[in-house]
């Protein structure tokens, strides 16, 4: 099957000189569920943000659905972004508006600028948002304000917002790092189930190796901005884990 995402020698050097990402290359096929593991500061977040251009890479290229993002115009970048849902550690919902509206924000990339700005979403979009909420068990919360929800519920709204984009790829940046183990499992189960059912490819940044091994079909190990492992979960040996997590970055 043809890869939907090709990451080629992607690099990011911040203006203070730190190389957050150096020469990372991989391909992702449709429906793959890849976990990125590594220490904090290993470049996991930067990798995801370079893929959807929230962070401007300083080298390399990302090609998604046949579009190369390095030379993409601002408009093309928006077209790329709307096909990639993103989920955050801090949920990043708009606290003061309803859950439904937060989910509808996933459609912003598809409606005209003025209609989107005024929040005039079509009936069809609203129905779809509602059915996504139902699917995630948030039917009762539809009209509540986002800040009335618990952390786990907010993260499910985050997933719903990403799904509302009808994405081909979901980028999840530490989606369970702020949640307790039980809630974390619910979130990972939901994310995993939906990606499998809808055939959405997913890249998840994770702290916990165990969680990564449970869900992922593929594991990418990052260390100091470099990709040091790329393979199936069963190939991730303890030696490799200690290599990825080896010394803390500030020791050297």
């Amino acid at each position: 099957m043809a890869a939907i995402l090709q990451v080629e020698r992607l690099s990011k050097k911040y203006s203070d000189g730190t190389a957050a990402l150096s020469d990372v290359s991989f391909e992702l096929e449709p429906g793959e569920f890849a976990a990125v593991i590594g220490l904090s500061g290993a470049g996991k977040s930067t990798l995801l943000r370079c893929i959807n251009r929230l962070v401007e890479p300083t080298g390399g290229d990302v090609s998604f659905g046949g579009v190369r993002s390095a030379k993409a115009s601002a408009h093309e970048v928006r077209l790329l972004r709307r096909q990639m849902g993103m989920i955050f550690q801090g949920y990043n919902l708009i606290q003061r508006v309803s859950v439904l509206r937060n989910v509808l924000h996933g459609r912003l990339g598809y409606v005209g600028p003025v209609r989107g700005a005024l929040g005039l979403f079509s009936k069809q979009d609203v129905e779809e948002a509602k059915s996504i909420l139902k699917r995630l068990g948030l039917e009762q919360q539809t009209y509540k304000r986002a800040d009335e929800l618990s952390g786990g519920q907010q993260q499910r709204v985050g997933i719903a917002r990403a799904l509302c984009q009808r994405p081909k790829l979901i980028l999840a940046d530490e989606p369970i790092a702020s949640l307790d183990p039980v809630t974390a499992k619910i979130i990972m189960d939901n994310l995993h189930r939906i990606c499998r059912e809808d055939g959405i490819a997913c890249i998840v940044n994770l702290h916990q190796v165990e969680v990564a091994k449970t869900y992922a079909t593929r594991i990418i190990g990052m260390r100091k901005g470099k990709m040091v492992f790329d393979g199936r979960p069963e190939d991730l040996t303890d030696r490799m884990i200690s290599h990825i997590y080896g010394e803390s970055p500030d020791k050297e």
Partner: protein, 283 residues
Amino acid sequence: MKPELATEMANDLSYETALPLHLAEPPQPSKPRRDPWLVGAAWFFPLFFIFSLWQLNFDYSQLAHGTGKMFQLFAQMFPPSLVDWRPVLEAALQSLQVALVGTAIGVAVAAVFGFLAAVNLFPRLGLLIKGVAAFVRTIPTLVWALMFIVAVGMGPVPGILAIATHAGASLIKMFSQSIEEVDEGVHEAIKATGAGKLQIVFQGFLPCVITYFISWSVFRLEADIGESAILGVVGAGGIGYQISNNMRSYLLPETCFAALVVFVLVFSVELLSNWYKNKMNLK
């Protein structure tokens, strides 16, 4: 020898005997240094104060004499005269209208330029607009009023323009600060959906800042009502004009009535805005 000194020395000795030689001197915690600028300022301002008293011929007998006069003046003001209550109340209403219209225009201007001035949305343009707004803000409303009177003539219009100008420039600062305090994660999340700038502003930022915008605007309206009452003194209409006219013709009881009206006006607006603030805090 002082007892503290003795123990200090004893401590020093015990250190030297107890520790090997290369550790004999424990690192001294660095003493907090006095900031030379602060020391300079602490000397300068009291000296300048004394110099100013001397330079301005601050005369204590004048103060004593004047205080007596002041009380006489107050005595002459009472009882307040209600003879021309009608023009006074009309002028008060005009002051209120000037404040309301001026502030509303200022809010509208600031709502647009506040976003353009926020550096997290418009990094370069933001700094430029902030700079211009800061410049406009340093010129007091009264001075703006004098300039607009020259430009468009006396009456309420220059008052409205002056208040709109100054309120707009002040609110641009407040609004843009509120926008800059919005969590960067919110910005990222809306951007990541493929939304354009207009959508990011309206759907992402506006819901986060709208209550701050309203609070700042109410706060500003409160200040502007006081401001517009004064503006009349320089000829920009309203109740200030009545007061300064009455005062010039020594119509003291009439002045007193107008001053009381100003007091009631400003005080009731303050009560209203306090009520509003309490209500907002409860939510």
